[in-house]
Symmetry: C2
Subunit: 343 residues, 2 copies
């Protein structure tokens, strides 16, 4: 069933397992306690950053399948994408696993696009188990999108730091785990920001657009959720999002958290927090998933955000098109407790 841009999953597919790999800088923060594979060296034993990124992704994928007590033969589809040109991390991971592979790209909102499509495939009866995964690496992203690392370029205060990490989610038609109850597809939004160091400002309108659509389509209000979790707006972008929604009469001040804002212990004069496809994948797949399983959190609206630029589009004078996809993840008992389980 669908209303507007929101798909309702009547069979409520479950996130039966997650697995995350996180770099050393990331493990110093909130995800350190929860990451399945914390790295002490961001090269992960490889000789290039790109190979390290792909090894993180493959490790997360295999670990998640293992944690779901499945084998690769049980997985019907693998949905993945990443920030590198031609999503090579995802494609090479798919080569290593031999899983039936559907490549996706939504920049840093790849995780929520993956979860949305995984839910469609399982809810619709087309698959028993789907793996959705993504990741990023600070050094491979930096040298592809910005400057050679050897330059030691000074980072402006509005910038964010690409997370080194990967997250993988097993979405199952049946079984245990928090359910994906609905998802809202994003539209490309562009408010004319062209500063490639200010992704938070570029992406905030996309998050606002999707959240407004989600609340309108579902009839829910922000306080329906224990947590509205955006992907990597960072500190500045998060404030912009709250303002943009406030202007429309929607207040998410009480229960909004941004993965990019919490992933590092940030000093805001230096930079705005984490970004990258791996940012929200790691935070949701470790810290938040643990809370969804064990305590406190009953209902999370996960809205990752992505900036769909390339170095060529920026070089040719284009502004930054952005998108945000959202999925609602709910604990079944939380729904029962609250008694608001209508979709």
């Amino acid at each position: 069933m669908r209303k507007g841009r929101t798909i309702f999953f009547e069979n409520a597919p479950k996130i039966s397992a997650t697995a995350t790999v996180a770099g050393p800088k990331e493990c110093a923060g909130v995800v350190g306690r929860y990451a399945d594979v914390p790295l002490v060296d961001d090269m992960f034993g490889e000789d290039t950053f790109e190979r390290a990124e792909r090894k993180m992704l493959l490790t997360a994928v295999r670990k998640s399948i293992e944690k779901a007590r499945l084998t690769e033969a049980d997985v019907d589809f693998f949905l993945s994408g990443d920030l590198l040109n031609q999503i090579i991390s995802a494609s090479f991971t798919a080569r290593a696993t031999k899983l039936p592979f559907l490549g996706i790209y939504s920049a840093c909102s790849t995780m929520s696009e993956g979860l949305l499509l995984a839910a469609v495939l399982t809810d619709g009866g087309y698959a028993e188990h789907v793996v959705a995964a993504t990741g990023s690496h600070f050094s491979s992203a930096e040298r592809q999108y910005r400057y050679p690392l050897e330059l030691g370029t000074t980072r402006p205060p509005q910038s964010q730091w690409t997370v080194t990490g990967a997250g993988s989610f097993v979405v199952s038609a049946k079984g245990e785990g928090p359910a994906i109850t609905c998802g809202t597809c994003g539209r490309v939004t562009d408010f004319g920001v062209s500063d490639v160091n200010n992704m938070g400002a570029a992406m905030a309108p996309a998050a606002a657009d999707t959240l407004l659509a989600h609340f309108a389509d579902t009839g829910r209000k922000p306080d329906y959720y224990d947590l509205v979790l955006t992907g990597d707006l960072g500190a500045l972008g998060s404030r912009l999002l709250k303002d943009l929604l406030w202007e429309k009469g929607v207040d998410i001040g009480e229960n909004h958290v941004d993965c990019g804002e919490i992933v590092y212990k940030i000093v805001e004069d230096e930079f705005q927090g984490g970004s990258g496809a791996g940012c929200s994948a790691v935070v949701l797949g470790s810290y938040i998933y643990d809370k969804l399983q064990r305590s406190g959190l009953g209902r999370v609206l996960f809205a990752a955000t992505g900036a769909l630029l390339s170095t060529v589009s920026s070089g040719q004078g284009e502004t930054i098109p952005c998108i945000s996809h959202a999925v609602a993840i709910e604990r079944t008992d939380a729904r029962a407790t609250r008694g608001e389980e209508r979709l």
Copy 2:
């Protein structure tokens, strides 16, 4: 319903309209008579090749919606990707249309991945109308993947020519048009080819893998189809595919055609034919779709093929991972006539 890697679409979503834009070199060939927008200038009035590529894609998308007698407000999802880094042609097209957008990437098999997912969304009741589209431009691809155009590099005889063109398909839950009856998801296959000028050889094993899975999952034989249409293997790749299948006891010699092989009037000593995401999108969306609607062709198995390399992966010594997704497109009356309508 699914068996192995093949999804069966019990509600048989229809391809209610297609639209294609093709460059001057392409219009000299078989698609010239059928393209909705034949170009006399491959710049399409723009100042960069990348902008021309995106204008082709946007034009094809809008034209297909118009031909389906819909407006953009009727389209529930837009699935698209392309060869440029970070799929900017698709993202900027999504920005211009404001359609709910799901970015996909499967290199030159993007068209069949898009049709597969469009069929899932419509068959599953999640959408009324989905647009799936892709395109490519010789000059933007050449300068991104290979050499600056100004170099005038000599092309080796095993090379292919990236098609300048775009194709867009409207997939509808109900209505008229040939139906997508099933689809087989590809796996990444890599036989160790590292010559980036020999895509046909790299991709042939991926096509063979998917076709074998398709025939095994469906119980169909090649002669079930009037046409087994691969994407852009070119002349050499097509011969390799036939040989690979022949070794497994499957003969597609009688009814196999490759979009890349037929799109140009090729002189095989010079090069192997067309390639690029736009190649199969344009051939299927114009010439073949016309035959599916008006005459002869009743059942087509469309298996586009993609090479998932990047300049970085090749530069770091990797071989070329490839994939092929297949969708079966069948005219309803053809199914009735033949009486083999079991799925």
